[in-house]
């Protein structure tokens, strides 16, 4: 118990961010119409490409050849996630835009 409390205190700021982000994520999504499920999933998919920052950090401090190779691969894959994700989402949404349209809300 003592240990858990110590950990909680040590990581308290991040735990706060996590808990609040969870509620924020739920709140942000909850009113989405079904037609936007696919673009939304794709957009969210691009956002978790933020993992690329970790890949850059780890690559930026890599020393051994193995670490360099793995790091290089991590950055490439992370970039694929980010770029591919955003571009594909934009392409999908571009198609909704051609004609002026009414709001469809459920």
């Amino acid at each position: 118990m003592q240990e858990i409390l110590t950990y909680f205190f040590e990581y308290r700021q991040m735990i706060f961010v996590v808990v609040l982000s969870v509620f924020l994520g739920i709140e942000v999504i909850s009113n989405v119409p079904a037609i936007l499920h696919t673009p939304l999933m794709s957009g969210a998919n691009a956002i978790h490409g933020v993992v690329i920052i970790g890949a850059i950090i780890v690559m930026g401090h890599a020393e051994s050849t193995l670490a360099m190779v793995l790091g290089f691969l991590a950055v490439v894959l992370g970039t694929l996630n980010v770029v591919g994700g955003f571009v594909v989402t934009d392409r999908m949404l571009d198609m909704f835009k051609k004609k002026p349209k009414k709001e469809t809300k459920n």
Binding site: S21, G25, V32, H37, G43, G60, L77, G78, T79, F96
Partner: protein, 484 residues
């Protein structure tokens, strides 16, 4: 003088740090605002752009200003090359792929993110500081974040690749009750192995580095086994779930590097993705647990229906029927999309409208391969947004409709969802096609739908079948109507 230099150095040191953190804050806000805007048709595209700007900002400031133990980012040349390669490849794939292949593409990119997260953990494990282990043993938050990042990232990667293969028609389903036990067994092994590593106590990290590769292997196998038995219609739900997994894996990196942008971005996607998964399940009236453990299709095989006869209709009869109708509703399905028939379908619709027929489209929430997929495909063919009516809004109108034209759709018009409690799709909201006065079903053959369930709408007295590839049939039909 020396003093002044030291002070300025200190100031510049904290300044870059502050700029970095500030840019992470801005990036996080852009992610949140972007995601919010993505959930409204009016602002969705701008939302996507905002999130992308946030990402670019976070990436650039990380390369420029990030310091670890006072060391700036090195290997910048290699990093830039990697980014350029990723950008070119990602951009090309994203621009070239057909809209029908969209679901597997999302799955593919999701897998890339998962793999990236797993690689980060793989590289950070040997660098766990000896001081930390000496003081706390392996039981600490740092190690937990590394192990969870590895496991969740690997499961997401392996699972996404299987989902990609399945949607692309390269991999079949393994539907066996045995898979359920294998999966539970694998999950227990994964969790057990994490616990084992964390309870090792004070060890030398380089002596146990091989353990992380074993964990990686088990996690990959679990990812494959996790998606293997899940079939057909449930694949979008799985992709959405894996999407939120990758979010959580990215957030683990945030813990590791005390990085707020990764933390908020990752958790935001993790929670939003989970809610999205649940919403998708609701649209199909399935519970998430059912999707994960229950093998879809296959079940309810013992159903017996009064099978009537299949009646075909000739092209010219179909043309006459449509031409002299007042109200026509088109129910498009994936068959329309794979035949690339959305443009010719729109031609049919324009032709009929020019003859005074009112044409609408009934869009089922899961028509196509993903919720909203059909809207994207029809929008690509310039079908006006207002003509796409969600199934629940069009159903009350169907009894006054002269002809319902079902093009390459199957499960979303299956009356078994309303009548047959033993059917796997029982309870799923459907387009109530049988309520219309006439039904024309365009289909390649008498094959079953994606969910592999018999559809007795086809045996209905009011139903007429028009066999053939959707594009060819539609083209012939348009020509026929033009001659009337």
């Amino acid at each position: 003088m020396d003093k002044i230099i030291t002070i300025t150095e200190n100031i510049s040191f904290t300044m870059t740090d502050s700029i970095l953190e500030l840019s992470y804050l801005i990036a996080s806000v852009l992610f949140i605002v972007g995601l919010k805007m993505l959930s409204n048709p009016e602002s969705a595209r701008r939302g996507n752009t905002y999130a992308a700007i946030g990402m670019v900002l976070a990436i650039i400031t990380t390369i420029l200003f990030h310091k670890q133990d006072g060391q700036p980012i090195g290997n910048i040349g290699y990093i830039l090359v990697a980014i350029v390669i990723g950008t070119i490849v990602g951009w090309t794939i994203a621009m070239k792929v057909k809209m029908t292949a969209m679901p597997q593409l999302v799955s593919l990119f999701n897998g890339m993110g998962g793999a990236s997260a797993a690689l980060i953990s793989l590289m950070e494990f040997p660098h766990i500081s000896a001081a930390l282990v000496a003081e706390h043993g392996m039981m600490n938050g740092h190690v937990l974040a590394i192990l969870l990042g590895l496991v969740i990232g690997s499961v997401s990667f392996a699972g996404s690749m299987i989902a990609f293969g399945k949607l692309d028609g390269r991999i079949g389903d393994i539907r066996s009750p045995l898979m359920r036990y294998i999966n539970i067994g694998l999950l227990v092994i994964v969790v057990g192995f994490i616990v084992y590593i964390m309870t090792l106590g004070s060890v030398k990290i380089d002596e146990i580095t091989y353990l992380i590769y074993i964990l990686l292997a088990i996690a990959l196998v679990y990812g494959i086994a996790f998606v293997m038995p899940i079939g057909g219609a449930d694949m979008p739900v799985v992709i959405s779930l894996l999407n939120s997994f990758t979010g959580v894996a990215a957030a683990m990196g945030g813990f590791l590097y005390n990085n707020q942008a990764m933390l908020t971005g990752g958790i935001l996607v993790g929670s939003a993705g989970t809610i999205l998964t649940v919403l998708m399940c609701n649209a199909m009236n399935r519970s998430l647990l059912n999707v994960i453990i229950g093998a879809f299709g296959g079940g309810g095989a013992a159903m017996v229906h009064e099978e009537g006869n299949i009646r075909e209709i000739t092209l010219s009869d179909a043309a006459v029927l449509l031409n002299y109708s007042q109200k026509v509703v088109i129910v498009p399905g994936y068959g329309l999309a794979v035949a690339q028939a959305q443009h010719i379908c729109h031609d049919l619709d324009k032709l009929l409208e020019s003859k005074g027929v009112e044409v609408k489209y009934a869009i089922h929430p899961v028509a196509g391969r993903m919720p909203g997929h059909m809207n994207v495909l029809l929008a690509e063919a310039d079908v006006p947004y207002e003509k796409l009516i969600e199934s629940e809004h069009i159903n009350p109108d169907l009894p006054n409709t002269d002809v319902v034209v079902v093009i390459g759709a199957n499960d979303v018009v299956n009356p078994a969802a309303q009548d047959d409690p033993s059917s796997p799709i029982y309870g799923m909201p459907i387009v109530n096609a049988r309520a219309a006065k006439n039904i024309i079903v365009m289909k390649r053959g008498m094959g079953k739908g994606y969910a592999a369930i018999e559809n007795y709408l086809f045996f209905n007295d009011k139903t007429r079948m028009l066999f053939g590839n959707a594009k060819d049939t539609l083209q012939a039909l348009v020509a026929e109507i033009k001659e009337l």
